[in-house]
């Protein structure tokens, strides 16, 4: 496997793909939102339980590629206990890490473990895979209730 591929398919990502965390339904979820990438067929549902603008529980179910499934899994781990405002900042940082021109000043420390997705930047067609769970989550916390589509 060459370097770029190793950056993309890091062991943490493969681990979360094999054993996704929080892969379950939250029966009393406040929000459940569907996300769909019609180009590759990825489909997932994000469940969120909120209290006082803070995520008390978040989970997902769905089918998709390793990147989208691992992204959803790591996202749910990372977001428990975060406020809606914090989530908005994390979304922006995550998106910037995958898409923005590197200018050396961006600080992605807040992303913690989520930095394993930095390698996706080298595969522009795969950025949507990594961001689909995040777009879906954002729609869930905003309560729009609409299915999110990458297209």
């Amino acid at each position: 496997m060459n370097g770029n591929l190793r950056d993309l398919y890091q062991e943490v990502i493969l681990d979360h793909q094999r054993n996704p965390r929080n892969f379950r339904v939250i029966p009393q979820a406040d929000r459940a939102t569907d996300g769909h990438n019609p180009l590759c067929g990825d489909k997932l549902t994000i469940y969120v339980k909120l209290a006082d603008h803070v995520v008390r529980d978040v989970s997902f179910q769905g089918v998709g590629c390793a990147i989208s499934m691992a992204s959803a899994s790591l996202m749910t781990e990372h977001l428990k206990g975060k406020s809606i405002d914090e989530i908005e900042d994390l979304f922006d940082s995550f998106h910037a890490m995958l898409t923005a021109e590197m200018n050396g000043v961006q600080d992605f420390d807040s992303l913690g473990k989520l930095r394993v997705f930095e390698g996706v930047r080298q595969f522009p067609v795969r950025v949507k895979c990594a961001t689909l769970p995040w777009h879906t989550l954002r729609a869930a916390v905003e309560g729009s209730g609409k299915t999110v589509s990458t297209e």
Binding site: M1, N2, N4, L5, L8, Y9, L14, Q17, L39, C40, G41, D42, K43, V63, G64, C65, A66, I67, F123, V125, R126, C129
Partner: protein
Amino acid sequence: MRTATDISHSRRGGTPAGFDVGRVREQFPILGQTVRGKPLVYLDSAGTAQKPQAVIDAICRFYSSDCSNIHRGVHQLAERATRAYEEARLKVQRFLGARELREIVFVRGATEAINLVAQSYGAEHFRPGDEIVVSALEHHSNIVPWQMVCRQKGSVLRVVPVDDEGQLVLDDYERLLGPRTRLVAVTHASNVLGTVTPARELVDLAHERGVPVLLDGAQAAPHRPVDVAELDCDFYAFSGHKLYGPNGIGVLYGKAELLESMRPYQGGGGMIRSVTFDETTYDRPPGKFEAGTPHIAGAVGLAAAIDFVEELRWEPIAEYEHELLSHATDALSAVPGLRLLGTAADKVAILSFVLDGVHPHDVGTILDAQGIATRTGHHCAQPLAERFGVPATSRVSLAFYNTHEEIDSLARALKTVSEVFH
């Protein structure tokens, strides 16, 4: 490393007599490059076929020396451009075995050809409750235009199912042909599974009931000779870019009497006899269906592509592609955890597969990292993917410029995929 597939290849021996793949490859400049540091292995010809130098040169020559609008000029360049465009039509007529020149309409591609028939023939003849028969093999381009016209006219789409091998179930097809059937629109070859449909039989069964048939030839025309007179189909659609020609040019063949009776698809210049603000009389086919300045350079490029294929000759092409297909079928079948979809007896060189535990999108990325271009997804045939219970597949589509060695590279690369994920 020598693998089982390498051995089976060397046992198979070289290429068929009369087909020198090395010489063929030299004529496709794009194939000589490296991608991500590896020699490009292009296995996405059903997406678009690469173009031989002769096609690139023909387009370049047209723009360099003959460029003009057609039909309306008295000057020398207009005459040359018109001649080149109409000679391209003549070439397509012979290529398809059409009886008359007016049966060949230039369009943007197979998609536009089908939309033309749907919005001209369909919108005129379909009534509420009428039925249009398509199959479960169809590309979205042979589903959506019919859905659109059905919605306009209150007609209904009926779908011929496929069996587990990916072949149309003919008994069901016959049952679906009823008193309300107004048109059959089926593919000549599946873009996902490679299945070649029994087109002549489908046409005969429909004609026994007075139903016209459109064949979507986008994937068949690049792989085998098409004879519309022999098929007796009423419409045939194909795209130039899948036949080693340029993008943006395609062909609708229609039987003369049908095209004559049909109303125009678009209005504009080039399709009229006379225009007043009260009334317009239309040109006859094919001009009636070619409003506006057509893709003249595209037609010229398509003619060059047809010359290229005909110089290679269909018989060695078909024989060589058949060898590639059976080698690829063996090589892929030998990959642990790989399931091939579509195992029809008669196929063009297209293979769809899923790999146990690995999403096609990941397969595509890992292959790409090794310079191997494949396609992943539902391939614009979502109902077919659903029929086989998969959200997406990986697709390998071969052309006569592919080699046995490339297939071996693919098989080796697929083993890397399994290593990454297990």
